[in-house]
């Protein structure tokens, strides 16, 4: 009996943790979107006021960001300075491919980030600023929706997870 009770508690605990993880992921996505938007705002300043070349600008932008976001910028920088013949856009897209899985962002977020690749570094200052602002705007929309999802979703997932755990316990015993 004690063993059964202990097992039941374990099942419920596991499902609660799983629900929490999903909810946490939703929350993390909000933070990441916010942080990458902050990065782009910095990048815009670096480009429009100082015309800082991208390798240098990426480094500055990456400072103070959570690791999974700064990895995108530092990774792209590494490729750019490697003299392997990558353009800024290629470096950006390649790095995004590699670092995306470590972030909590979804495919839609990634598509927006990727869309910047074809413009990055390839035109004059005004044009760069325009594209970066556009991306920022799109990210802002997604962030607003992500906040909602995180609030509603977090509650829902936690409830669902605990519920599923309880049902499982009932079915097992």
């Amino acid at each position: 009996m004690v063993v059964k009770l202990f097992g039941a508690m374990l099942v419920v605990l596991a499902s609660w943790l799983a629900g929490n993880a999903i909810a946490g992921n939703l929350q993390r996505r909000v933070q990441e979107l916010r942080s990458i938007r902050r990065c782009f705002a910095l990048l815009e300043t670096e480009i429009s006021y100082a015309a800082t070349p991208l390798p240098e600008a990426f480094l500055r932008v990456a400072r103070g960001s959570p690791p999974q976001i700064s990895a995108i910028f530092t990774g792209a920088r590494e490729l750019l300075v490697s003299s392997q013949g990558y353009t800024a856009g290629e470096a950006w897209e390649l790095t995004l491919d590699k670092t995306y899985e470590f972030t909590a962002m979804d495919l839609g977020d990634r598509e927006i980030l990727e869309s910047l690749g074809q413009f990055l570094g390839a035109s004059d200052r005004d044009d760069q600023v325009r594209h970066i602002r556009l991306v920022c705007e799109q990210l802002r929309d997604r962030e607003a929706r992500a906040v909602e999802e995180a609030e509603k979703g977090a509650r829902m997932w936690r409830f669902l997870a605990i519920g599923a755990g309880l049902i499982l316990v009932l079915l097992l015993y």
């Binding site: 015309a51 991208l54 390798p55 013949g85 800024a88 570094g121 004059d124």
Partner: protein, 350 residues
Amino acid sequence: MAVSEASLSTGSISTGSTGQVATVTMLVPQRIRDLLASIEPGVVASLEEIRLRLGRPVMLVTSRGDLYLARNGGITMDPGEAYLFTRDDAHKTLQLMCSGSVYAVEEELRNGYITLRGGHRVGIAGRAVLEGGHIKTQRDIAGFCIRISRQVIGAADKVMPYCIQPGTGRFLHTLIISPPRCGKTTLLRDMIRQLSNGFRIPPGGGGPGLNIRGFKVAVVDERSEIAACYQGEPQNDVGVRTDVLDSCPKAEGIMMLIRAMSPDVIATDELGRAEDAESVEEAINAGVSVLATAHGSSLDELARRPTLNRLLSWKAFERLIFLGQTLGPGTVEKIVDGISGAVVLNGPVR
């Protein structure tokens, strides 16, 4: 500074030529880079320019003539077999030259060239974007002229003894006169380096050898060709006592340097604009020796240009060095005393 006999007689190229070219190949797209890697070292060593023109063969300008880069590797004389420079290549080349940041070189695009690490210059031609009637920048870049920089340490060995005033050791006001591609800038650069580091006039002509101490040299490098600064650091050896004012208009630059850097010698290239004459006179009056270059092949030709005519009739320059091609690029045809008109070195020597 002791100068060895070998460098006195020939002039040695400072950097391994293939090494210099390697830094250039980092700037072209992978496909062209691979093709360039397939050509023989002998051709690479004689490379002067790489010309990239949209839709046309990649051309290698060497001291032995123009060659094409073949589609299948190696070089060819037949344009039909040549690799054609694509739009994608042009896009990538521009990006590679500016670390993926075209916006950071707007100023350079406006001037029409970018100076790269290693001191190479890339001339750029595309479609000009105008703002208020002036060029703001360029887009749709279609033509690149990559000029391989080769500083020749010792290029000035032959002329240095003629530019020092016997007795006082003062550097005489000197003008280098030369048609294009005769080694004007190369000679100027090495003169700057030797003046800056100090040099030794070898014994000969009855006189004993003479050690000349280094001068404080200030360079106005309007087109970043002399020192070829990359992010402020000269990529060419211009000597230990040399200050470089990079990409600065000559006339203003000369005035700034006289006031700010207390130079013994001011060096600059391509005198020609009206205000240049005035600032050169100012420098001479301030007791600073002037070293400059001018396009041209004879005194008569120079005299037709108002700025130079003014300086020549004022007898501003005490030494006129004429360069030519008689014995190949860098030939000194003659050196003339600018005051008396006497020929002090009757060439050609190289």
